[in-house]
């Protein structure tokens, strides 16, 4: 087991390294115009760039990049937030992304599971049809379209929330911030709820028809007991890793939802770095590394969590 985990981690680090090399080389191949805003002092720009290894061979630059990056020094922002440290800005923005995604997970996981279980228990009755139709629509329609509906109805017509997040001077974990983030939380939660409901329903209906459920009923368990103790536990095997994957995914957040609701998080930072003229390469490198890492890490964690949950899979890995 440990060997398997270590092997996976080593492979992940290798893939991560290759992808970062790819990004680094491609970015270095781009014309690098000195940004006008950057202090407007050519000498300063030159000095800073010399520090980063500009003008040296690409390999040396790459070595310096890795050396600095490992110490948490990802360079300075040139166009987006001139003269501020890229890493510090990133850390500053991260809480908003995490908060909004965390809230959405806190709502969507219980609701999604409950709806899925309910639909599975009421299979082929009208309750199931209503839930399944709703889920079908919610899964298909992209989240930015709900975001428009939420923005138009909840924020504009009913006036319950602000259209975009305006006040950043309140603590991240406060009621006021929660109200500001609420529309984005709803927009993010809906597709997760739908996905989870659909998955739970499919898994649970499969387990409910299996033979050991009949045995459980025969030995005298009530329907509720059999469902909770036997069916649900077995159905959770594939569902739980999915939830873990989503929890890791909350770090990377959603570019679209953040830009629609004006949440100043990582996604908006990434978009800003790309759209800046010239693009802010240091932000781009850091955030690309971040997104790549999150994606790879989530994949590993999901695979490993399978074997932690299900003893059968654990046996197979040996």
């Amino acid at each position: 087991m440990l060997k398997y985990v270590l092997k996976r981690i080593a492979l992940m680090l290798f893939v991560f390294f290759v992808i970062m090399t790819f990004c680094f080389v491609l970015v270095k191949l781009l014309p690098s115009l000195p940004a006008q805003q950057f202090g407007k002092d050519q000498a300063l720009i030159e000095q800073r760039r010399e520090q980063l290894g500009y003008g040296k061979p690409l390999m040396v630059q790459f070595y310096l990049f890795i050396k600095h990056a490992l110490r948490g020094n990802w360079g300075m922002s040139e166009t987006l937030y001139p003269m501020s440290d890229v890493w510090d800005t990133f850390v500053e923005k991260l809480p908003y992304t995490i908060t909004v995604n965390l809230y959405s997970m806190l709502f969507s996981v219980p609701i999604g599971l409950l709806l899925g279980i309910y639909a599975a228990l009421k299979k082929n009755k009208w309750q199931d049809h209503v839930i399944s139709t709703g889920v079908m629509a919610l899964v298909s329609v992209p989240s930015f379209i709900y975001a428009f509906l939420i923005q138009y109805f909840l924020c504009y017509k009913f006036g319950w929330f602000n259209i975009i997040v305006e006040d950043y001077n309140v603590p991240v974990f406060s009621w006021k911030m929660f109200v500001q983030l609420a529309p984005a939380v709803i927009a993010l939660a809906l597709p997760t709820i739908a996905g989870l409901t659909r998955y739970t329903r499919a898994e649970l209906t499969e387990v409910l028809t299996s033979e050991f459920m009949l045995l459980a009923r025969t030995k005298g368990l009530t329907r509720g007991q059999a469902t909770v103790r036997h069916a649900l536990r077995n159905a959770m095997v594939p569902i739980f890793p999915m939830i873990i994957g989503e929890f890791i995914g909350i770090l990377s957040g959603s570019l679209i939802i953040e830009s629609i609701f004006g949440i100043s998080g990582v996604g908006k930072l990434y978009l800003g770095a790309i759209k800046a003229i010239p693009p802010d390469y240091n932000f781009f490198m850091l955030l690309s590394a971040f997104y790549t890492f999150i994606g790879l890490f989530a994949g590993i964690l999901v695979d490993i969590s399978y074997s932690f949950i299900d003893p059968r899979i654990r046996m197979g890995a040996k």
Partner: protein, 518 residues
């Protein structure tokens, strides 16, 4: 031993059952092949068939509308703006028009009008436009709302405003010949396009050229002595070379243009009625079934052209990915061993790169060489084929050791023939389903990217659903129609594709055969 010659003739054979009745019959039904069976099972799934019909209709809309509108004003109008000529600013005159269908004129539904609460100054302004142009701006008066405030009472009017008439006037500088042409056309059709120029000395209108009367700084009108007649504030007695229709109440002194430039190359700054100018230019009254966008483009054609591009892009990418994935997966699965391992690691690394990062890098690098669309296709193709490849690989592993493959090899079939003639057809069903499901995925990614502005496909004649959505989102509270129609279109498309894909997957899955009847 003497050799005996055997002669086998037809007569030496005879039927064993001669004289007896035959019990078995030749099958009367035709044999059902794999694809026919799949089609039959697909047709039994009602929801998928409906979804397929809806997709077909949306596809027709995307294909036909941009072609069918080729000869009418809507496209002419877009083409003008695409050239970036003076017409470029013309589009702006028709921005934010509400959806209107000529059939519903005056019903209050889908006729380009909107229920609004306006203040007294605006009410007078709209009434003044009606007085000047003869066309009503306020189509229905609901009620008067009197609000008591600490600084006095304000009167609001709840009315239905015609968006095609409310933004009545535009300032446009035309050349001499154009000016002559408009005058001649006015004379011929008896429609007033050019209206008298408002005196710039009348500064209280804050540059709003729809206010042609004397007003206070607040915008409130200054009435004549009788307390209800508006006093005109037009420029008078200028050399405007005007010799055409004049508005009611004009004693011949009103100026219809500010003439600038040297003799022989005069240009005329005119105050033009937007509605009538549209008729002059395109020979048809402005009437946009889905309204116009923030840039003044017709939403119906704009959306169709965006959707058409999306469809074409998705189909292209699905095809390219299918080809690359099939070949890559076939080689992986057929040869196995070290080749398989190396190629798997390669695709593992590729699949680890986040799609957004790829798109951005490709946009930065290739935009100048192969254009926006080209670099977008590259980004989609870079990682898109991996799913297809793994499907094909799996099927190859399953089939390559079957007896019939061995038989074919014994007969001397080459590797390529074995791969594509004998094994590959087994993967076809899964691949077709997979490729159809790639299409909505690509459309969704393309829409997200254009929505975020990472990729910009907008030109005068082309747009994308994403950029329409993002432009509409900016004015969602005042003009929800701009975001509504693209959103409805896209949601419908995605739901239909999802249902259609589910049906297709079930139909091509042989293990589900017969389960529907149960």
């Amino acid at each position: 031993m003497e050799k005996k010659e055997y002669q086998i003739t037809k007569e030496s054979f005879r039927f064993t059952q001669e004289g007896k009745s035959l019990k078995d019959k030749a099958p009367e039904t035709k044999p059902v092949g794999y694809f026919k069976d799949a089609f039959r099972r697909f047709a039994r799934n009602k929801a998928s068939v409906v979804a397929a019909v809806i997709i077909g209709l949306l596809l027709l809309y995307a294909i036909i509308v941009p072609i069918a509108c080729n000869t009418n004003f809507i496209d002419a109008y877009s083409r003008d703006t695409a050239k970036g000529e003076a017409a470029d600013t013309d589009a702006k005159f028709y921005q934010y028009l509400l959806p209107k269908v000529a059939l519903f004129e005056g019903t209050g539904f889908w006729d380009g009008t909107q229920k609004k609460q306006i203040n007294n100054n605006n009410y007078v302004r709209y009434k003044a436009i009606e007085q000047e142009t003869g066309a009503p701006v306020i189509t229905k008066y609901f009620r008067e709302i009197v609000e008591e405030k600490f600084d006095g009472t304000t009167v609001m009017h709840e009315v239905r405003v015609d968006s095609y008439r409310s933004n009545a006037f535009i300032t446009k500088t035309v050349t001499g010949p154009e000016y002559e042409k408009i005058q001649a056309w006015q004379q011929e059709n008896n429609i007033q396009v050019l209206f008298p120029v408002v005196d710039p000395a009348q500064k209280n209108n804050n540059g709003d050229i729809t206010i042609w009367y004397k007003c206070k700084l607040s915008g409130a009108p200054i009435y004549a002595a009788d307390g209800k007649t508006l006093q005109p504030a037009y420029k008078t007695n200028l050399a405007d070379d005007y010799n055409s229709l004049r508005i009611a109440g004009d004693d011949g002194s009103y100026a219809y243009a500010n003439r600038t430039g040297k003799p022989g190359s005069f240009s005329y700054e005119c105050r033009i009625n937007a509605y009538n100018y549209f008729i002059y230019k395109y020979g048809i009254e402005p009437c946009f079934a889905l309204g116009t966008t923030d840039a003044g483009y017709d939403l119906l054609t704009r959306l169709a052209s965006g959707a058409r591009f999306s469809f074409i892009l998705a189909i292209c990418i699905a095809t390219i990915n299918l080809l690359i994935g099939a070949i890559y997966g076939a080689i992986e699965g057929f040869y196995g061993g070290v080749i398989d391992l190396a190629m798997e690691r390669f695709s593992d690394i590729l699949s680890g790169i986040p799609f957004t990062v790829v798109t951005v890098l490709f946009q930065m690098h290739l935009k100048d060489d192969v254009g926006v669309v080209g670099s977008l296709i590259f980004a989609f193709v870079l990682t898109g084929w991996i799913g297809t490849a793994s499907t094909v690989r799996m099927q190859f592993y399953r089939y390559k050791n079957r007896e019939y493959v061995l038989a074919a090899r014994t007969l001397g079939a080459t590797d390529a023939r074995l791969m594509f003639k004998h094994i590959f057809p087994n993967a076809l069903g899964t691949l077709i389903t997979g490729s159809v499901l790639v299409i909505p995925g690509v459309m969704l990614s393309e829409t997200s990217l254009t929505y975020l502005g990472i990729v910009n496909l907008d030109t005068g004649t082309m747009s994308s659903v994403g950029s329409l959505l993002s432009a509409g989102q900016a004015c969602i509270s005042s003009y929800p129609h701009i975001v509504l129609y693209p959103a409805v279109f896209f949601s419908l498309l995605m739901i239909s594709f999802n249902l259609f894909g589910n049906g297709l997957r079930d139909a091509f899955n042989p293990s589900l055969r017969g389960s529907e009847e149960g």
